[in-house]
């Protein structure tokens, strides 16, 4: 998936497992940028009685680098606190939850937002209520209006924040991808190991279509994020790099009576910026280490970007379908296109009217040129679809990052660095067969943009 359960250790720690990062100029408030970090992957909506919550013992952070060194210049920290009204019942709610202060809601969560900048910690808001999980029509009636919208909080400085359950907006055909890459729209072309399972093309299946996540979303004025007011798209000051991290205290003691004691400094256990980076590019033996490192140290992982394993797998799994890519791989050619897209941003002069270059430091960050306005008619294929407001210029909630990255790895972006290169025809159409329409909840037109979570009653499995 994008980064759901992507590394051995973090797959065992869902509340600290970052799944997706979004960063985009807000379509309805273009003087602001919306940053979203998702955690707690693959939530079955009916997962009670202990419905999903952020970790009270996890330090969640969204980082912004505005000078290209791969370190945070601005960080928003989020700490959560769970409060039980009645510890003597097993129930999450003892009646309908019709407001955020409902006495029927037993297990509530609140949070504090702290901005860290220039070594100063400023608490922007505390005691901020999360919405409950979406349980069903009796427990959480009128979910969007009565529970989700009141959980959107306005903070000083023109900042808006939300933290709570959302419908999963990332779509991917997991069943196909992890079944040895038999992408359903092309499965008849798969080598199939001689098993002859597929004879015709299939249709993509969204494996996340009925699942929820927990989102931390913050909308911030552009001027508060950039190092100086940018003078147009080509101004380097227009570009910010964004990533999220989750940290835990270094020592955990199991006290033997059900109490967990945490002590010591916080160390990073999860990190995420570009989708699929750790998941697809970093090998198993390095994934846990990658999660513990800051983006500034990503030079050590660069060879996995410039020589991606998947680029060699595609010609092997689909014999004769990617001959030009195969030649590129066999020649050992470093993929400077992927390095630029994922680790430095694209410099000016590569794509007309566009740049999101942050300098020579190799760092996995979602790079957003804040001077590019939102698209009136977004193309989910983003920049490779001619829409400069989409991935990899930041990432919007509906962007088809699986198809974009599949095509990029298949060679469709290599002409950016070698104009003599003509990609395989298949590279320009390869996909897992999904689109934003594959997300049943749809998306919201306003903050926090990700759809209303699926309820356990309506989505019991």
């Amino acid at each position: 998936m994008s980064s759901h359960r992507e590394a051995p250790e973090i797959s065992k720690d869902p509340v600290a497992d970052s799944t997706d990062v979004y960063a985009f100029v807000s379509p309805d408030r273009p003087d602001t940028v919306t940053l979203i970090a998702n955690y707690i992957p693959l939530q079955g909506p009916a997962g009670g009685p202990n419905f999903y919550e952020f970790g009270d013992d996890v330090l969640y952070e969204i980082h912004i680098d505005n000078n290209g060194d791969g370190y945070a210049d601005i960080t928003y920290q989020f700490r959560f606190q769970t409060r039980l009204r009645n510890p003597n019942t097993f129930l999450y709610n003892t009646g309908p939850i019709q407001s955020l202060d409902s006495p029927n809601w037993n297990s509530r969560q609140f949070y504090t937002v702290t901005q860290v900048q220039n070594g100063r910690f400023q608490v922007l808001g505390s005691g901020l209520a999360c919405p409950p999980c979406n349980i069903g029509p009796l427990s959480t009636p009128n979910y969007h209006q009565a529970l989700a919208l009141p959980a959107v909080h306005n903070l000083p400085g023109g900042i808006t924040v939300f933290a709570g359950q959302r419908a999963e907006g990332f779509y991917v055909d997991l069943g196909a991808v992890f079944d040895l890459g038999d992408l359903r729209p092309f499965e008849q072309l798969h080598a199939q190991y001689g098993l002859g399972v597929f004879s015709t093309a299939g249709t993509g299946v969204n494996a996340t279509a009925a699942l929820n996540v927990h989102s931390i979303a913050i909308q911030v004025p552009v001027t508060a994020l950039v190092r100086s007011r940018p003078n147009g798209v080509t101004d380097p000051a227009a570009v910010i790099g964004v990533w999220t991290s989750a940290s835990r205290q270094v020592v955990r003691i199991i006290d033997g009576n059900g109490t967990l004691i945490n002590t010591g400094p916080f160390y990073q256990v999860s990190r995420l910026a570009n989708p699929l980076f750790n998941e697809v590019l970093i090998p198993l033996g390095l994934k846990d280490q990658w999660n513990a490192e800051p983006p500034a140290g990503d030079k050590q992982f660069a060879s996995h970007v410039t020589h991606p394993e998947l680029a060699a797998l595609l010609p092997a799994l689909y014999p004769g379908v990617f001959p030009t890519l195969n030649k590129l791989v066999q020649a050992g050619t470093a993929r400077a296109d992927l390095e630029a897209i994922l680790l430095t941003g694209l410099p000016p002069g590569i794509v007309p009217g566009f740049q999101n270059f942050t300098g020579p430091v190799l760092a996995d960050m979602v790079r957003l040129n804040t001077a590019i306005p939102p698209s009136a008619s977004p193309n989910p294929l983003g920049v490779i679809g001619g829409d400069l407001a989409g991935f990899p210029n930041g990432r919007r909630v509906q962007d088809d990052v699986v198809t974009i990255e599949l095509r990029a790895i298949a060679g469709v972006t290599y002409p950016l660095v070698d104009k003599s290169f003509t990609p395989d025809g298949a590279a320009q159409v390869v996909t897992d067969g999904l689109s934003p329409a594959s997300v049943p909840s749809g998306y919201l037109a306003t903050f926090p943009y990700l759809g209303v979570p699926y309820s356990g009653f309506d989505t019991p499995s």
Binding site: G119, D255, I261, P265
Partner: protein, 122 residues
Amino acid sequence: MPGQDYPNGSSEPSDSPVTERQSQLSRRSVLRRAVGASAVGLAVVAGGGTAAAVVSSRSQRDSSRSQGDPATATGAGSTGPGPIVIYMADPTSGEMDIFAGTGKTHHRNQTMAAMVASMAPR
């Protein structure tokens, strides 16, 4: 690089990011030490008990201040009501890390290490 930049790890609001940064091990080194601990390491927990706070901001500040000279057994100062954890990856070296609140100090004290090692279960 401005002062906000974090080369390693994360800080809480009540900590100085500078002292925090200086004190932090990388997670890899902690994991390496944890692996070693299965063979020769010792971890000692004192105090705290069931009522221990998950985070104590007072102890965070105090323990941050006591960090500095890695070879000197500095006073840990007040650590508040939370637990104190002593971790020795290799008791024979006398090197130990002491955790309290969100802080960590590093010490070398072979006498103490030998004493703790003698009390460890066998």
